[in-house]
Symmetry: C2
Subunit: 715 residues, 2 copies
């Protein structure tokens, strides 16, 4: 009887807690939900953590680790074990060799394992320490312990008790916020910027800490707070103080702050007479500015720069090279161990002579500079050569600049893949790029992942309650973080882990959700830009189909520039008989893709202009294949919604409805894309619709008349 | 023993619930928090609601009432009583005479009481019905029952069990959202617009329902969804569908939707060749448009119009009057029982000849039109004649248009009173205006409140988690709603009720909070614009002191236009020897205010230009008094923070810190205002600072050099 009562109490308490939590499933907690575990899972987790032991002096980072473990265990078990001073059987022990010399004193294997982890890695294992059976979270640093704590909590939440040994493959794992100082977000679809610049430094939103927790849980270790289209004011004293307040909050979580710097800042602030990177007054200004920043933020990360691209100022304004510009800034931050990330996303200035193929410009400008950049400069390259399209071949700069550390720039926010309204899991897209073989290895394969020193993700984080505008867009943040830690991780594994953390480990839920996620990006490709088509979205806001647009100021802003459809055929000839962008790739690739028969079907019209009656492997003509792909996109989207509907009994009502509403929207969007594109391409090809293909619901003029005023994300 | 266990369980469950809630005090729940009551309070409330009985058929509105009662009781008691079919002793009975004819069949007194409540009123009382002792919530309509349910829950939450009989004194109780279609908010300081136009109609934010609940709890019965600076697109089919989706959500809560209409809409949509309100094609267009809207939204409220003001189009563009414009729209919505709210906030078009006093224009344009407006037109007048200043005398139009129904327009968002960063309770400001005697009564007094047919509050609601940008700004929404229901309610009572609902009924908490609130607006007046000064804020964003600004395009945009300070004196002479704006008031007021000795000190420099050595009632010179007021503003603000600090042990950590951070900011802001204004006025007066007055920390040039880039709220 005496034992029965506490058990009944605990069960009731948990059932209440569970009720309270279920009512609150609004997505704010992301993948750190820590909902009550099932009884058997509780027993298993309790046995691993009868008490928490962290030897040595408390630091802000170890405090963060302990607080997270207590929060997580309180949520999953109803009650968290207390921190304890002494190791005992069943302890959850967090230790570094420095904090607990006994840890490795007589354990050469563990010593070796730890040595392999570097500064940020961690290991989890069930072992004996000082004669006690413990669950060990070990690392070489406090931040490693924090990462290990998050990893252990993940395992506890989804029932994985495997030993883990994990170290990041990339040193720089950053978010790039395209957030403006007025809190608008360029290409943001999840509310305002989370950075309340106006309120800072006095007013510190509680969300900043939760942002740090979420990112640290993935191993993200840096964040650029402001838009690459930057403003001079961000480097004034007032904004440095605001930035410092954010840095103070993120620091315990191992996250450094960076700022996007506008190249002409000193000139625009009227503090120099030029922004020429070789002018001594300019070099001195930046040196002084760096000193000023580092005085306020001793571990400031450095600068991200978009220069001479889309109207931004840059060194070319003074007939200097990108290397001249980057190296000048690098010299200013080098004494403080800062870095400069210089973006390779450049295209010809407005009004200037346009190369016959915009895809070629970055390679042409940057490849010759390989070897000229200072040691603390990284060149940041978008995954593809155009602009974050639903599908692009990997950027030819990867593997082409062996003397220059490169960063991958992925877009997490879905500028071209349906904002936060359409469901598209980007893990598969990132994976596709990262595992592409650049054929630049000496004999062996060399994937894009293997050419990288760091990764940057254009954040999809905003002030929406669920952070990312939709529940499934949280998965893209998650997948990005996981791939930045390990670019060889598998998108499907990540999806499964995310789904289990986000919707609970019940496989009846996880499997269908993973199925939805794994087909979702290809569905978007199909209903927007199948077979290698690209950049056919509406002007400026990039919403809705607009393949007909041909009257914009710059040729390369027009969809017709990219699809080149006419009565005879469709596609962009990038072979030697065309723009020859193909020549920027390694010879093996250039040879393979020179022939449409050996070009991957999914990139066919990226590299080739082909007649409408070109015979596809399916046996269909290109025309029929194109129509079939559009229709498949719609069918896949409907199937996604049907799969989701079947989950209704297993998902809390609020999240079920919120996802379902978006899937309804997405089906409508897919139909719109299909019908508009079929109507347009038929008007160009003049070909009849093959039997069985449904005609668009409206005439072409209807689709052309649609407008999307006040579409979000223009910042 | 068997009785002991459930009690122990209940206590533990409640203690857990309380812990869970306490961790979540982020302000989202507003005054509808329903936190667990103390034991004695629980006993009292349980006795009033052993079961909930609502006879008759369920409607969306009665469902809302039942759901709210169950939510509230579950929160306050741990468990909600079930709805029951039969009245019994201890029932909480919700009934109308139609739903339960027995209610009034043999109770003439109750019948009479109910008859006096009108369509929206309600009464709460402990009584006997059908032989049973019940707690009765009675009304003549379902919406009355909903209002009654909220009122009863309020009483339960704060321990009030008094009988209540309440009916709204104003028929129209509206919010005006100055929300743009791109989700920016003009003069918004609490995040983006809650209206996600892009996501609508498919995507319906859960927040819309909570918005409806919060407003219905105050009796607000209408909302204008979009900015008075409106766009033509809001009246296109796509936005009507979005508006209808919102209307469907708000309808059960008794809240009608309205739209701000741009006067030139048909012309700008290229559907007419003019916007002349007398042109048949224009009249027909609006009639058709109204029919289209009412087809989608049968209970659409009508239009709010800002015309011929600050660059907005209007009937004067065609040499027609405001009445011509308003009546044309009124004719379009009249068949559907819609209304038109026509704003009286007008000032001379840019570049036109400026009256010597902008304060006079609205009266001059509108007073002559009294009697010319259609029956379904209301004229909406701001509380004062300038523009939502920290203090203004009441607008002279109140009482001056006896043949025209007038609406009061208050600003809830604090454009001129410190955004959402400074704490200023506006209840006292609203009360001051509403209880002002216009002296237009025939013999008897006639307060501003008594001249009104409706009230509009420019909303301070946004997508910030706490809705209003700060916890205390919620009180302004609350006070506005309460005063719209009853314009004779007392600001202090409202403050006490709000504080008890928001921070709990402990008087050790409520009293100091009410003290802070009651002095807060006067503190802002003191450190910004004491003694009747006005409009001295920074250009455009209205942040920070800028009394020196004298170079803006229009004279009346410059602070110097308003304070008229020079070597000899300060203040705006609005007596007969000056602009004579005073003549727009009733003769008794005009006579009293003609003499500075009989003008209320708080309005002194609004009506008079006086020498610096003018002798104030305090015995000080005007110069010394001005300095003393600025210093008092700083002292009051510091005292507010000190009072708040003393509450630390009694307030949850998150809300304590969030308020404290803002008070720190406010103290800094008060010091900035004081020092900048003293530095400036000293430069003008050339007078020494009296002994004991602290000199500004910086020279005037420093204050003049301050800039506030990216300040929020410009929309």
């Amino acid at each position: 009887m005496r034992f029965f009562l506490p058990a009944a109490l605990a069960a009731l308490l948990l059932s209440l807690a569970s009720t309270v939590f279920a009512a609150d499933e609004d997505g704010y907690d992301l993948w750190l939900r820590y909902r009550p575990l099932s009884g058997t899972a509780q027993t298993a987790v309790k046995a691993q953590a009868r008490g928490i032991v962290l030897p040595g002096a408390a630091t802000p980072t170890t405090n963060a680790a302990l607080a997270e473990l207590q929060r997580g265990l309180a949520g999953m078990l109803g009650k968290a074990p207390a921190p304890e001073a002494r190791i005992a059987d069943g302890s959850l022990l967090l230790a570094t060799p420095t904090r607990l010399p006994a840890l490795t004193a007589s354990d050469a294997a563990l010593r070796a394992d730890l040595a392999a982890l570097g500064e940020e890695g961690y290991l989890l294992r069930a072992t004996r320490v000082l004669g006690h059976k413990v669950t060990l979270i070990a690392a070489n640093s406090d931040i490693g312990l924090l990462y290990g704590a998050y990893a252990w909590l993940r395992g506890a939440a989804i029932g994985s008790t495997a030993s883990v040994s994990s170290a990041p493959k990339l040193q720089l794992r950053l978010l790039n916020h395209w957030d403006n100082l007025d809190r608008s977000v360029e290409r943001g679809y999840s509310g305002q910027s989370i950075w309340d610049w106006w309120g800072l430094p006095e007013i510190k939103d509680a969300r900043y800490t939760d942002y740090a927790r979420a990112n640290a849980s993935l191993g993200i270790n840096g964040t650029v707070l402001n838009n690459v289209n930057s403003k001079p004011e961000v480097l004034t004293a007032s904004f440095i103080a605001k930035t410092a307040a954010v840095a103070d909050i993120l620091r315990p979580y191992g996250i450094k702050v960076y700022l996007s710097a506008r190249f002409s800042t000193p000139l625009e602030l009227h503090e120099t007479s030029t922004a020429d990177p070789l002018a001594p007054e300019v070099r001195q200004w930046w040196k002084n500015k760096a000193d000023e920043i580092y005085k306020a933020i001793p571990d400031f990360g450095g600068f991200l720069v978009k220069a001479n691209s889309e109207g931004q100022p840059g060194p070319q304004d003074y007939h200097r090279t990108h290397a001249d510009g980057a190296n000048m800034l690098a010299a200013a931050v080098a004494p403080h161990k800062g870095i400069v990330m210089w973006r390779a996303f450049v295209y010809a200035p407005k009004g200037a002579h346009l190369d016959e193929d915009r895809a070629k410009q970055a390679y042409e400008e940057f490849k010759p500079l390989d070897g000229q950049f200072a040691a603390n400069v990284l060149v940041q390259v978008k995954n593809g050569a155009i602009d974050f399209q639903p599908r692009e071949p990997f950027h030819p700069l990867f593997g082409a600049m062996p003397k220059t550390p490169l960063m991958m720039e992925f877009q997490i926010t879905k500028e071209y893949l349906g904002y936060s309204t359409d469901l598209a899991y980007l893990g598969t897209m990132y994976e596709e790029t990262l595992e592409s073989d650049t054929r630049t290895g000496q004999g062996a394969g060399k994937t894009v992942a293997q050419t990288l020193s760091g990764m940057a993700g254009v954040a999809n984080i905003g002030s929406d309650r669920n952070w990312s505008g939709s529940h499934f867009d949280q998965a893209n943040w998650y997948a990005y973080g996981k791939l930045a830690w390990n670019p060889q991780a598998k998108a499907k594994d990540i999806a499964a882990e995310w789904a289990a953390l986000t919707f609970g480990p019940d496989q009846r839920v996880v499997r269908p959700i993973v199925d939805i996620m794994m087909v979702s990006r290809e569905a978007v490709v199909d209903y927007m830009t199948p077979l290698g088509l690209h950049h056919m979205m509406g002007t400026s806001h990039h919403h809705g189909p607009a393949p007909w647009v041909d009257n914009l100021e710059r040729p390369d802003w027009n969809p017709v520039y990219y699809h080149r459809a006419d009565r005879n055929g469709i596609g962009f000839n990038r072979t030697a008989s065309g723009s020859n962008a193909l020549s920027q790739y390694a010879p093996e690739i250039a040879r393979q893709y020179a022939d449409p028969r050996t070009t991957p079907e999914q990139l066919l019209l990226w590299f080739h202009h082909l007649p409408w009656d070109y015979a596809m492997p399916s046996g269909r003509t290109l025309w029929a294949e194109l129509l079939a792909r559009y229709d498949r996109g719609v069918a896949e989207t409907k199937a996604m919604q049907a799969r989701w509907s079947a989950l209704k009994p297993l998902i809390d009502a609020r999240r079920y409805a919120e996802v379902d509403q978006r899937l309804t929207r997405q089906v409508n969007n897919a139909i719109l894309w299909r019908d508009a594109c079929i109507a347009y391409f038929q008007s160009v090809s003049g070909l009849p619709l093959p039997p069985g293909v449904q005609a668009p619901a409206h005439p072409l003029e209807y689709y052309q008349s649609l407008r999307y005023p006040y579409a979000p994300g223009r910042g």
